[in-house]
């Protein structure tokens, strides 16, 4: 079981002042799975994601990603190991075009000062290869005709699509989606679900935090339930629906 775990969160705690946001919680995410993380408001889901991605420092416990400990690393260091996350609020770069947004994500030789200044021939070739990749991804996500539009002009749902497409440019091994469906409706939800399933089939691991339980049902084999900072239950959705304590947490 632990041999094919890609992410292990062991006994993590985090308090803000007197509020115990996460209280000795542990998660294990299997490689190649889509795992859900649900729970009522204030359950500590977002704090958990922030600890995983390095945006919040937990006071206790450890995080192990792909066999290496990432506890206490800065967010950009975690990201470089292949764990990319998205945010509850869409976080596009509004005054840059979609293609520019996409090209920020991959690591490029041209972002090194010396190369940028004096070795255009070195980074230009790489740039065009990445450009090709970015265009294909935009086509896949149905955003290609907006490629030269400013990202700030997109609709809420399109920004979500762009964010996931941009994360894919960074070649992640695992994506953590913090409420990807927030502010997205109808057809776009179906599109996003299809994309996530498709990407998962190609080997990407997902951790999805979501309030829309129907979406969780369609996406995830197994789901963690958090309440008041602790992990309450783990299992497939149909089992959780019969779990007394889970129902209680949601009713409270």
């Amino acid at each position: 079981m632990t041999s094919d775990a890609i992410l292990e969160v062991e006994d993590v705690s985090c308090a803000f002042g007197g509020v115990q946001a996460v209280d000795h919680a542990s998660l294990t995410i299997d490689r190649g799975s889509i795992t859900g993380l649900i729970g009522p408001n204030g359950a500590g889901k977002s704090t958990m994601v922030n600890i995983i991605s390095g945006h919040t420092k937990g006071q206790e416990g450890r995080v192990v990603f792909a066999g290496q400990e990432t506890t206490g690393l800065a967010p950009y260091q975690v990201a470089r190991r292949g764990l990319i996350r998205t945010f509850q609020l869409s976080s596009e770069f509004p005054n840059m075009t979609l293609l520019e947004n996409m090209l920020v994500a991959p690591r490029q030789v041209g972002t090194k000062f010396w190369n940028a200044m004096f070795r255009k021939s070195v980074w230009n070739r790489e740039e065009y290869a990445l450009l090709e990749k970015a265009r294909h991804l935009l086509v896949e996500f149905g955003l290609y005709k907006l490629a030269d539009e400013y990202a700030g002009n997109l609709s809420g749902g399109q920004k979500r699509l762009l964010e996931i497409a941009r994360a894919l440019m960074a070649d992640p091994t695992m994506l953590v989606l913090d409420e990807p469906m927030a502010g997205v409706s109808g057809v776009l939800i179906d599109r996003l679900v299809d994309h996530i399933l498709e990407l998962n089939r190609s080997g990407l691991t997902f951790l999805v935090i979501e309030h829309d339980l129907e979406v969780i049902d369609r996406l995830c084999e197994n789901v963690y339930v958090m309440a008041q900072g602790s992990v309450l239950a783990y299992g497939p959705m149909y089992e959780l629906r019969q779990n007394e304590s889970v129902l209680e947490a949601y009713l409270d």
Binding site: P75, Y76, F93, N95, K120, E132, G142, A170
Partner: protein, 348 residues
Amino acid sequence: MTSFLITMGIYFFIDLILVLSANLQLGLMGMANLGFVLFLGIGAYAATIFSIGPEPANSLQQYFFGVALPFPLPIILAIICGMIGGLLVGLVSLYRMRGHYLAIITLAILTICSTLVEGYPRFLGGSNGLTGIVQPLSSLTSSYNGYQLIFLGLSGVLCLAVFIFCQRFIHSPLGRMAKAVRENETAVTTLGINPFRVRLLATVCGGGMAALSGALLAEYVTAWGIAPWSFTEIFPATAAMIIGGRGNNWGVALGTFMTYVVVGQGLPFLPGVSSNPELGYAIQWIIYGVALVAFLWFRPSGLLPEQKGRWKHAPEFVPATMSSASDLPAAPSVAEQVAEEGAHSHDQ
């Protein structure tokens, strides 16, 4: 008249270097680093100290150190001092400060430095300043007009070099990364980018550029002191950048021309102003203020707004897209997109 135009050209080049430095930090990266005037002063003092020679025994001028180094060295050392200054200020302030906190702390550092120089005259001449700065390449010619041309060439070449530097910086993957840091710092960290490194890099480069501008200014005027080293200098530079266009080097050049040359140097030609320099000065500040407010209100991106990144289409792109996208379930409008893109791909 020719001599006047040459002087104007020299000031244009010197000021443009300063505004480009401000643009790299404020325009491209959105860092409210007002310290570029600090680095201007560092550069000017460094160029002075490294060219003026040792302190004469019985002179009214007081300063420490003082060597007479040959031509390119004072300027190079000034740039290095500016970069070191940028590095130190960046390390102190950038790690935690953003927005107006950064603006306040950089202003505070500027004030501390100028107060220090003023209050301790033995250090860098205090409020009397330093005069008699040796002009670079002045041994080449003895005529005034000849030297004016030489300095025009020198400042022009250096300004061009800085301009090319900024163009390469902004239009590279590094510049794109810097822009992204401005747009959303948190999002950038989740893509494996360390925003602190990018900010520090911009501050160091900006420090060096502002110091170069200061060095040229001091060497051209042959005097430097705390009077021209005031935080009011922030204002015209920022106005030039905003009027011209933040993040666009050509816009910055246009803005510098409008503010420093047209308004700054053109006003004395107005009837009534030439006999009353105080009036000209007052009108100049009113124009800067009104123009700044008007631009921020009606055209915040400036005369020449920041350019979108554009790339040529790879010729084999469209067919490749068709074949690879046809088996994807969740792209309902691929054919449409490609067709539409094909229709107007010629104008790119």
